[in-house]
């Protein structure tokens, strides 16, 4: 056949190129083993993997995750590391794409990481956690996906709270404000936000709250005029929105543009507790109430154990990046701290099972709150670990109600 020789030439070239490509990557060739980097040399660095959405729609989240985790790593290494071994954080970009997250995980496996800090993209968490479980590599998830800890998977642990925890706290706030009728909006293409909706519906009755309107949209929705007009005519006293990425910014602006800010409260969830929401939303975000970790309102906290803990993150963060850490920076930092605490307990062997059992019995105060992991509870947080804040001029202030709750601060 005439075209065969040419095809073969190219086939051979491509094959060689692929082989050359594989040997030029930093990953080690060969199968991934369940043994971690227990190299003979006791000063060899410990590889910890991290997957984060550094690009794509959720890049504001990934930026924060990376900042927080890197800060924790540098503090740990400055203090001598773990048994004298420094931690080497290997970060991979999942591009806000769950398939990419799985590919990144497989690449990290090849680099013999002892554990992985999972992506804050909820779909990535859904896709990757089962793979980590299968490979028996401890997976510390930075994405609030309830399904990853319900039912409990031995190797998967959650850093943000589950949505029921957030919903409960928000309901507590509604009750304190005498709000009995709410509208709920959520992104039905995202599991975190969808879980959030279900949690809202299940928690509301116990606090005397009724859901009078439900609105759905997608992560990519850019036009919220019909959503907002539906809510306006629903008679709701508050609009609770579960959304991540650019969509909540647009929704907030549309909400304010329709003059609704005076009529009802707009309530958001921790996925929007970042300047990358408040800045683009600008003045439309003023008065928006949010559930968030205490880290975002650190400067307003009274002296307390949690404030000391948060300042360990907030002070160097402000020095390096300016401003307060976002929810995601706090998540990244807390996740890293939890992992390091477990690594210290599991040293020097650092086997997968050793790290896992260390995590299974871990109690630690972090900027995200006080964690109590047990074999039956891989979420570890309670509603008292969630703050109710209000956005004012780009900053997060405690709501008046929150100030009355300082008696039950974590720590």
């Amino acid at each position: 056949m005439r075209n065969r020789p040419g095809a073969l030439l190219v086939a051979a070239a491509v094959t060689v190129a692929t082989a050359a490509c594989s040997s030029s990557t930093t990953g080690s060739a060969g199968s991934s083993s369940s043994a971690s980097s227990t190299s003979a040399s006791s000063s060899a660095p410990i590889n910890v993997g991290m997957i984060a959405p550094l690009t794509g729609a959720f890049s504001p989240l990934g930026e924060g995750d990376e900042q927080g985790a890197e800060l924790a790593v540098s503090q740990l290494n400055a203090a001598g590391g773990i048994d004298g071994r420094k931690v080497n954080l290997i970060i991979k970009d999942d591009k806000t794409n769950p398939t990419q997250s799985v590919i990144d995980f497989q690449a990290l496996q090849g680099q013999d990481v002892v554990a992985v800090l999972g992506s804050s993209v909820s779909d990535s968490a859904q896709a990757t956690a089962p793979k980590a479980e299968q490979a028996q590599i401890p997976y510390i998830s930075l994405s609030p996906v309830d399904q990853t800890v319900n039912p409990v998977e031995p190797y998967v642990f959650l850093v943000p709270a589950i949505t029921t925890t957030y919903a409960t706290r928000i309901m507590q706030w509604f009750k304190s404000q005498g709000i009995t009728k709410i509208a709920v909006g959520y992104d039905n293409t995202d599991i975190y936000t969808t879980n959030g909706y279900h949690s809202t519906v299940s928690e509301a009755p116990s606090y005397g709250v009724k859901v009078v309107d439900t609105e759905t949209f997608q992560t990519t929705t850019t036009d919220f005029s019909t959503t907002v007009s539906h809510v306006a005519s629903s008679g709701a006293q508050a609009f609770l929105v579960w959304a991540t990425g650019p969509a909540p910014v647009i929704l907030t602006k549309t909400f304010a543009g329709a003059g609704l800010a005076a009529k009802m409260k707009l309530v958001m969830t921790p996925s929007d507790a970042t300047t990358l929401y408040t800045q683009p939303a600008g003045s439309s975000a003023n008065g928006v109430v949010m559930a968030a970790g205490y880290g975002v309102m650190a400067s307003s906290l009274p002296s307390s154990a949690i404030k000391t803990e948060i300042n360990q993150l907030a002070t160097p963060f402000a020095a390096k990046y300016g401003g307060q850490p976002s929810e995601f920076a706090a998540d990244g930092y807390s996740g890293a701290e939890l992992l390091f605490a477990a690594l210290k307990k599991a040293a020097p062997s650092l086997s997968n099972t050793g790290i896992q059992s260390a995590l299974n019995n871990l109690s630690l105060l972090t900027p995200d709150g006080e964690y109590n992991y047990t074999p039956a509870n891989h979420s570890g947080l309670t509603p008292d670990d969630v703050a109710m804040v209000v956005v004012q001029n780009g900053a997060f202030e405690p709501t008046p109600w929150q100030k009355t709750q300082y008696g039950t601060l974590p720590g």
Partner: protein
């Protein structure tokens, strides 16, 4: 040219052996690239047959890949044995193609292109709104592919499965081209009017190729679902369909080896660009940027300068280097040689099969087009 065929056969076997052994040395990250390249190759082969032979422009090949993947996911998560789900994947994809093909294959070239694109968007939208199909959230923790308790989970295992599936697809496609229906298809690609007058049921053949192409994509999609273990409508964007077009077009439409090389070549290129893009000092979005640049620029360059694909150009280069007489680089008729269709003929056949009749469109006359109608 018996010796040439023997050389070709030997070469093919060598290529097969080398690629079969490759997974032994690849790192886990590259095993993933290898596996996906194989699955994409199968899909690209199907598309190449469709665009090269039936002359149908399809900007929606990813939808059949998706249908295969979703069949596997939905079925196995609802209790169907995984091997059975995998068998169902290409069948369902082909059935959907046959059904949809009946109305839309009657459309003219550019309408058909947009119709396939629209079909993909519609299907993705329907899936997003159907809870049984996972809705907008999709399916996670898809069970592992297995038979009688033995499951496939290792990266290397998937790489070899991908190799096997690609090999089978190639053998099927090559045999199809050389068969009697294959010759009818080649006639179809050159001139529908002539084919019809020769008694070939044009519509039925087009439908068959459409369904077959969808079946290839569906099977690849099914394995993809087991491999990644997660899917959602966002896993199958329009960009993916365009990537398949690039893979099919680079080396020449209608060429089975060309589609394989296109898929493998693009996958390697993307990996290389990934390395470049993640080098220290590069901005975060560099890999994504380079990815798009690679696909877009490749497609533009090929379609502007070598619409027949790289293989014919390489062949004429080879001929010149080897000092052979008779330049095979010019446009030639279909069915040259023992069974290898001319990629050039088919590449331009794509265009000619969809042109209006000469009276209506006296565009820029060129040697190839003047030779057609």
């Amino acid at each position: 040219m018996r010796s040439a065929t023997a050389v070709a056969w030997a070469g093919g076997i060598v290529a097969a052996a080398v690629t079969l052994l490759l997974p032994l040395w690849l790192s886990p990250a590259n095993l993933t690239v290898y596996t996906l390249a194989g699955l994409y190759a199968v899909t690209a082969i199907g598309l190449s047959l469709l665009m090269g032979y039936a002359g149908q422009a399809s900007l929606g090949q990813a939808v059949f890949f998706a249908i295969g993947a979703y069949t596997v996911a939905a079925a196995s998560l609802h209790g169907v044995p995984t091997a059975l789900a995998l068998v169902a994947a290409p069948l369902l994809a082909a059935a959907v193609a046959a059904l949809v093909g009946i109305p839309i294959l009657r459309l003219r070239g550019h309408y058909l292109a947009f119709a396939t694109l629209a079909f993909q968007l519609i299907v993705l939208s329907v899936i997003s709104n159907t809870a049984f199909l996972g809705g907008g959230i999709g399916f996670a923790a898809i069970p592992s592919l297995g038979v009688n308790g033995a499951v496939l989970t290792s990266a290397r295992g998937f790489a070899w499965l991908s190799w096997a599936v690609t090999a089978v697809a190639m053998v099927l496609a090559l045999n199809l081209i050389r068969s009697r229906p294959g010759r009818a298809l080649r006639a179809l690609a050159t001139s529908e009017a002539a084919a019809e007058s020769a008694g070939i049921a044009v519509v039925r053949y087009k439908l068959a190729v459409f369904a077959l192409s969808a079946g290839f994509a569906g099977f690849a999609g099914g394995i993809y679902a087991f491999f990644i273990g997660y899917l959602s409508p966002d896993s199958f964007p329009v960009e993916l369909s365009i990537e398949f077009v690039v893979m099919a077009v680079i080396f020449g439409l209608g060429s089975v080896w060309g589609a394989l090389l296109g898929a493998a070549g693009i996958s390697v290129l993307v990996q290389v660009l990934n390395q470049v893009g993640t080098a220290p000092g590069m901005p975060e979005y560099m890999p994504t940027l380079l990815n798009y640049a690679a696909y877009g620029v490749t497609l533009v360059l090929i379609m502007v300068f070598l619409p027949g694909g790289l293989l014919p150009a390489l062949r004429s280069l080879w001929a010149r280097v080897a000092g052979r007489r008779g330049d095979p680089g010019g446009p030639v008729g279909p069915g040259q040689g023992a069974g290898g269709p001319s990629a050039v003929a088919l590449g331009t056949a794509l265009a000619s099969a969809l042109r209006l009749s000469p009276a209506k469109d006296a565009g820029e006359p060129t040697p190839e087009h003047a030779r057609r109608q």
